[in-house]
């Protein structure tokens, strides 16, 4: 079951995503003010939600890891952090494309943009510490993830007062139900893909931890003559 689950999720994603592309481009009306370019919304927004969800998952898992030393929580934190980087890359690539077409400027130092960018940097540093940190740095990385998750609302607020002239993009809130209806398949497909990858990565990481411990066990065992 543990091995089958990610395959099922990835399969669901592989079926849902083409359907959502078809739906977004052929069955959803074109937005009046922004035109065709608004279609990127159906992928940009779900990716941003998924990235935030994964950041919270990573922060919570790191909190559990630091308190209980759960190996499962540790593997979850690593997997979630790596996927934050992937989803974040998607957000940071689609966002400026959309911004360039609608605001006329790819990067406006809007509070959301800066927050997303900094969140991405924090998780990049988490992954760097995990990969290049010496033995024992997993606790440090966990603290980093907790701080990263706590920082997000603070950064958002900080940038808002730093840059008071951020563009007012309340377009998203006032979408007609037809467009919302097209958002769900895209969100579902991307979420299924993400969870599938997350699950597979957690399994991989746990196998790696088990292998490490087996190595240590063999080295520590008394040598037979």
């Amino acid at each position: 079951m543990g091995r089958l689950f990610p395959v099922i999720l990835l399969g669901v994603g592989a079926l849902t995503l083409p359907y959502s592309v078809q739906r977004v481009f052929l069955d959803t009306p074109i937005e009046r003010t922004m035109g065709t370019v608004q279609k990127i919304f159906y992928f940009h927004v779900p990716l941003a939600w998924i990235m935030m969800l994964l950041a919270v998952v990573c922060g919570v898992a790191a909190g559990i890891q630091i308190r209980t030393r759960s190996e499962r929580a540790e593997a979850t934190a690593i997997a979630a952090a790596e996927l934050v980087l992937v989803a974040g890359l998607g957000v940071l690539l689609t966002g400026p494309i959309w911004g360039h077409a609608t605001w006329g400027k790819a990067w406006t130092w809007d509070a959301r943009q800066v927050t997303t960018g900094l969140l991405w940097l924090v998780f990049a540093s988490y992954v760097l510490v995990r990969h290049f940190g010496a033995a024992g740095s997993e606790r440090l990385a966990a603290a980093l993830a907790i701080f990263g998750a706590v920082n997000v609302p603070i950064i958002y607020y900080a940038v808002k007062i730093w840059k008071t002239t951020h563009p007012d993009n309340n377009v998203v809130g006032s979408l007609p139900p037809q467009m919302w209806a097209s958002l769900w398949p895209a969100l579902g497909g991307l979420l299924a893909m993400t969870l599938g990858l997350l699950w597979a990565r957690i399994r991989l990481e746990r196998a790696e931890i088990a292998l490490d411990e087996a190595w240590v066990g063999v080295e520590d065992a008394p040598q037979e003559a």
């Binding site: 630091i66 308190r67 209980t68 030393r69 759960s70 190996e71 900094l118 940097l121 924090v122 990049a124 540093s125 760097l128 510490v129 290049f132 940190g133 010496a134 033995a135 024992g136 740095s137 997993e138 606790r139 440090l140 966990a142 603290a143 980093l144 907790i146 701080f147 990263g148 706590v150 920082n151 603070i154 950064i155 900080a158 940038v159 007062i161 730093w162 490490d212 411990e213 190595w215 240590v216 080295e219 520590d220």
Partner: protein, 256 residues
């Protein structure tokens, strides 16, 4: 000497007073060592001067309007640079003479170790700001309001440095116990201290522009300080020694 300082620590008695006293004893010990060698203060102070000269060379020709925008950035970037330099050194002494283990085994609160180290770092940073702020005021005419409101400036600098120090000390301690690789400190520090630096930046700009919202920004910075110190203090013990006992923390073998 450190042993002497530790032996004077009160044991179980006076529990509420124990923490500040222990923190102060540990900090005093570091400060005394610093007074003998002047290593941290001399290097950090000189580095501040160098960065200041660099900024002056790069931005001396800015117009007054541009200076208003640039001065807060220069101020807090320098604090970030000097802070990173100080934090890489603050636990090195313990590591070089392998006293961190002794410190951890000593009958002191772990939080006191954090508070003591944070206090020393904060004092070094404030010492550097004593060069930095007058230097900026001298070099850039737009920064004159910093000298005109000395109390506000000092409060702002203390609160900003405190926010930076509270996060930095936690991660410097974590790297010191996880066996080297201080390179990672910069990788961690800059993204994590950004909110503190943005708040300090906003408040500095408000002070320079005589903005009425300055006191609001200052109190927000103070609130952020409380959050950061609280979170760091809460996490410090877990980062330093770990809790629970799934496995010995350093036995993990690294492959590849």
């Amino acid at each position: 000497m450190r042993e002497a300082a530790l032996s004077t620590l009160p044991r179980a008695k006076n529990a509420p007073m124990r923490l500040p006293r222990q923190a102060w004893l540990l900090a005093r010990n570091d400060l005394r060592q610093e007074m003998r060698e002047w290593e941290l203060v001399a290097t950090a102070g000189f580095f501040t001067l160098v960065v200041l000269v660099m900024f002056a060379l790069a931005f001396a020709t800015l117009s007054r309007d541009a200076q208003v925008l640039a001065v807060p950035g220069m101020l807090w970037l320098t604090v970030a640079f000097v802070g990173a330099l100080t934090l890489t050194r603050i636990f090195d002494r313990e590591r070089e003479s392998d006293t961190l283990r002794a410190l951890l085994a000593a009958p002191v609160e772990r939080l006191a170790i954090y508070l003591g180290k944070a206090l020393v770092t904060l004092l070094v940073l404030l010492g550097c700001c004593a060069i930095l702020v007058p230097g900026v005021v001298l070099l850039f005419p737009a920064a004159a309001p910093l000298a005109e409101h000395p109390i506000q400036t000092v409060t702002l600098v203390v609160l900003g440095c405190l926010a930076y120090t509270s996060v930095g000390t936690l991660f410097a301690a974590g790297l010191a116990t996880s066996g080297g690789k201080n390179v990672l400190l910069s990788v961690i520090l800059y993204p994590l201290t950004t909110p503190a630096l943005i708040f300090a930046l906003v408040a500095t700009r408000a002070l320079i522009e005589n903005h009425p919202d300055f006191s609001k920004y200052l109190s927000q910075l103070a609130a952020l300080d409380i959050v950061l110190v609280g979170l760091s203090g809460w996490l410090f013990e877990s980062v330093l020694v770990g809790t629970g006992a799934r496995r010995a923390p350093t036995t993990r073998r690294r492959r590849g």
